[in-house]
């Protein structure tokens, strides 16, 4: 047990030392609930997100079925347990045909937040991807 603990400790130390867990530019990814789009986002520091610290997301949306240009992206974040959302308007700014920048995001409390990425396709149909983030 002691050996395995030591191995785990060494592994974590090496990971942290290499900056893998903190390095800006590391991306996260999920797909919309219907599997149509893959949503990938890069986050500016602080990373991981800190409660009540502003951050930005660079979001890329890939159509996994039709290779079609997404029509629009909306972003939001809520705390379901508290029944409230962010106190900032999230306004994605289109960067390329399939990417957006979302500035001035602020998750103002510790706890469980659900980030939602709503992708509208060219037919006006909404496709939702979501990710849960727990802030200390």
């Amino acid at each position: 047990m002691r050996l395995s603990t030591l191995c785990m400790f060494t592994l974590i130390t090496l990971l942290l030392a290499s900056g893998c867990a903190q390095r800006p530019g590391i991306k996260d990814s999920t797909t919309t609930e219907d599997g149509r789009f893959r949503v990938t986002w890069w986050q500016t520091p602080p990373r991981p997100i800190e409660a009540n610290s502003y951050f930005e997301l660079f979001v890329e949306v890939e159509d996994l079925t039709d290779d079609e240009e997404p029509y629009d992206l909306r972003f939001d974040a809520t705390m379901p347990a508290h029944r409230h959302g962010m106190n900032m308007v999230a306004s994605p700014t289109r960067f390329t045909r399939d990417s957006w920048v979302v500035r001035d995001l602020l998750l103002h409390m510790p706890g469980e937040w659900v980030m939602t990425f709503d992708v509208t396709d060219q037919n006006g149909v909404l496709h939702r991807a979501s990710e849960t983030v727990i802030l200390d």
């Binding site: 409660a51 009540n52 308007v89 500035r103 001035d104 409390m109």
Partner: protein, 420 residues
């Protein structure tokens, strides 16, 4: 032999868990202390000017900025009461509906007034001067007061340049402020000159208020001892130590009260019982947001030194939702023992009453179905509540005494009576 080994493992694990818990608590403590310098405010080019701060300090204590010469900023933000006023709701020229918050550490807030109707400290400072519940004056008369006082005029012109010719009452009528016929009768250039000078007064007051930081408290001294590797537990009482454990743990206070100011700086609706059940409910941020949007002195407006700054952009990006109706800004807990009565309408006289509310949530009034639901009853014992209160009382610390009174002249003498 096996039993000894097992006991040793158990004891080691227990010691390790205790150490982990202490480490977590220390990490939490260090996230709350010390208070850093306030964030910069690029919308005020004079925010860091010592001369502006001295001038602003003079203005802060000057009742000459009020209509009848009997109310100053310090009336509701009394330095002997930790820059609050000890009253349930503010009393200036008339009685208001909101409790006066302390302005110690106000420069850390991203929203000013408890409903967040202002996005900079300088624009907040201008509001009460023209509010008939508070100082009831006008920007024109405020500028005339500066022009008519030798010391104030000299300090103003040294900082900001010449004042408008406010002695000319035809061009600059008495009581002239937006919304009044006297103001509408003025020429556009004269209106602009008055407002420009008026804004400068607010920017000087901000320069002073930025210096009003919460002083070092017993809690800060204990946290500093952790950093020094000594962790001197005698710097806080045992009850306060236990109270901090509850604060950081089961009480859940840190959901809203975190960071060096012990506040998330944002808005919440605790469904507090109203002070006066017969009175109309207070809309809080719901109305504050609308006032913010219409505000003449916005961070991204023409009177801002940096309307394109990140601060201004973020202020303009505030969101309002149905859950904000009835919500108020989370107060800092620094100096909380000195700033009662408590809550946005002074609903509770003492900290004990505040904690009793959190313990049971008795009397909560949900005014609409969109309200957030952050609180759960603590169900603590009386001893636990006493410990929490002891911790809150360990958060008191005064700023330097030189900031707590009307400034003397630079040569150490009191200003002449005309400046009183």
């Amino acid at each position: 032999m096996c039993m000894i080994a097992a006991m040793t493992v158990c004891l080691t694990l227990a010691a390790s868990q205790t150490s982990d818990a202490a480490d977590r608590l220390h990490a939490m403590a260090k996230s709350l202390s010390p208070v850093p310098p306030p964030p910069t405010n690029p919308t005020n080019a004079f925010a860091l000017s010592p001369a502006a701060a001295l001038f602003g300090q003079r203005l802060f204590f000057d009742p000459g900025l009020s209509r009848a010469g009997d109310v100053s900023c310090s009336t509701c933000h009394d330095p002997t009461l930790a820059f609050a006023d000890g009253k349930q709701v503010a009393e200036g020229l008339n009685t208001g509906t909101i409790n006066s918050p302390t302005i110690l550490g106000a420069a850390h807030h991203r929203w000013l007034f408890l409903d967040g109707r202002a996005d900079t400290l300088w624009s907040q400072a201008l509001g009460p001067i023209e509010n008939d519940l508070e100082m009831g004056s006008s920007r024109t008369d405020a500028v005339r007061h500066i022009a008519g006082n030798e010391i104030l005029r000299a300090e103003y012109t040294a900082l900001f340049g010449p004042l408008p010719d406010v002695e000319n009452l035809d061009r600059f009528p008495v009581n002239a402020r937006p919304g009044r016929p006297q103001w509408e009768a003025m020429g556009t250039e004269d209106q602009h000159a008055i407002t420009s000078a008026f804004v400068n007064l607010g920017k000087a007051i901000e320069a002073y208020e930025r210096l009003l930081q919460p002083g070092h408290s017993d809690f800060d001294r204990w946290v500093a001892s952790i950093d020094a590797g000594t962790s001197s537990t005698e710097l806080m009482s045992p009850a306060a130590h236990r109270g901090f454990g509850l604060f950081a743990g089961d009480a859940g206070c840190r959901q809203c009260h975190f960071g060096p100011m012990f506040s998330d700086l944002e808005f919440h609706d605790l469904a507090l019982p109203p002070r006066d059940p017969a009175a109309a409910p207070l809309p809080g941020r719901g109305a504050g947001y609308e006032l913010l949007r219409k505000r003449e002195f916005a961070a991204d407006g023409i009177w801002s030194a940096a309307p394109g700054s990140t601060k201004a952009r973020r202020a303009a990006g505030a969101r309002i939702g149905p859950e904000h109706w009835g919500s108020f800004r989370t107060p800092s807990l620094r100096n909380v023992a000195k700033t009662g009565p408590y809550m946005h309408a002074g609903q509770f006289e003492t900290l004990s009453e505040v904690l009793a509310f959190y313990n049971t949530l008795d009397g909560q009034v949900r005014r609409h179905h969109h309200a957030e639901s952050v609180l759960q009853p603590l169900n603590f014992t009386p001893d636990q509540l006493a410990d929490l209160e002891a911790f809150l009382k360990a958060l008191s610390g005064d700023p330097p005494a030189i900031l707590l009174r009307k400034p003397r002249r630079s040569n150490g003498t009191e200003p002449p009576k005309s400046a009183e």
